[in-house]
């Protein structure tokens, strides 16, 4: 799906700063959950937080650089819009696509999320958030 055909909504630089702060918080908590040394360290929770971080980071980059963000539930649309951001759009879109591809498994608990898988998802969210931060700085 092209970015032009995606459903989008206008947003501001203030939205970008706010969403970036949220992405960082989600990443922080996801990392904490993963590092807990007991059964409370539910990989599914960390995975869900990684997805939320990815969506927030994507919004931050899109709002800062494009003045708009994807709206609605279309994963393809969100990835397509993010891919058009300069700088780092394609790299960020790749990580977002991976995260959104696992969204249902992690959010709705349909499938067990292994610790290794959750760790990879948190790593993608960390990278996506860092790239979004540099897009916000630009």
């Amino acid at each position: 799906m092209s970015a032009a055909k995606s459903r989008t909504k206008s947003c501001t630089r203030a939205d970008a700063l706010n969403r970036l702060a949220q992405a960082r918080s989600f990443v922080e908590v996801a990392t904490l959950v993963l590092s807990a040394d007991d059964e409370a360290a539910n990989p599914g929770v960390a995975a869900s937080l990684a997805v939320l971080a990815g969506i927030a980071a994507s919004d931050a980059a899109c709002c800062a650089r494009l003045g708009l963000r994807a709206k609605g539930d279309s994963h393809d649309g969100a990835v397509a819009v993010l891919a058009t951001v300069e700088p780092h759009g394609r790299e960020m879109a790749k990580d977002l696509e991976r995260l959104l591809g696992r969204k249902d498994d992690s959010h709705y608990g349909v499938t067990f999320v292994a610790r290794g898988e959750a760790r990879r998802m948190v790593d993608w969210a960390i990278r996506l958030t860092a790239l979004a931060a540099s897009a916000v700085e630009a």
Partner: protein, 196 residues
């Protein structure tokens, strides 16, 4: 430097914001959307800029709108001029790192962070540090920022205990920092009392 549209410092006509708008995306953008995102000039003015830029090949008119021709010999220069905010942040980050001074947080705030000032705006920088060398560094950084941008820098350097006191008395500046901060290094949650 115009802190709202830094490219306008070098390209003061409407061409600057139009090029910066197209440099921020690889997707084609229609005229009315370029006009909205550029935030300056009239729609007919933007149309004239696009027409001229298409003629010299810097911009391509494609299905769905206009794109920056990233193969053009001028494209890299356009992208660099559209990224002056990013360049400023990277230089400040490097300066902080090479100083060796321990900081909990360094960030931009005010109009430079919000991108809503002009050429007369100060560049506001917040540093939270316990270092005894911070005053010297603050002066040095202010001079560097002026050299890099032509704008005066207001470098606010405070300790964590000073921050706690400001939070306690509900100093309005703390709300501004929380709202606007663009983190250059460190963790913004320091502002809310965590990670000091």
């Amino acid at each position: 430097m115009d802190v709202a549209k830094p490219i306008s410092s070098v390209i003061p006509t409407l061409d600057g914001p139009v090029l910066a708008t197209l440099a921020a995306t690889t997707a084609p953008i229609i005229l009315s959307e370029i006009h909205r995102r550029a935030g300056r000039g009239s729609k007919s003015g933007v149309r004239r800029v696009l027409s001229r830029m298409v003629q010299v090949g810097v911009i391509h008119e494609v299905l769905g709108g206009f794109v920056l021709n990233r193969d053009h010999v001028a494209a890299n220069s356009v992208v660099a001029l559209a990224d002056l905010h990013g360049e400023l942040v990277r230089r400040i980050r490097l300066e902080v790192q090479s100083s060796g001074i321990e900081t909990s947080l360094v960030g931009l705030f005010g109009s430079a962070a919000r991108h809503d000032g002009d050429i007369t705006s100060d560049i506001d920088i917040l540093i939270i540090s316990e270092s005894t060398d911070i005053d010297d560094f603050r002066g040095h950084l202010g001079k560097q920022v002026f050299l890099w941008t032509g704008n005066h820098a207001q470098v606010v350097a405070i300790t964590n205990s000073e921050l706690r006191r400001l939070r306690k008395v509900n100093e309005p500046i703390v709300a501004n920092w929380n709202r606007d901060i663009v983190v250059i290094s460190g963790d913004e949650r320091v502002l809310k009392g965590g990670r000091s």
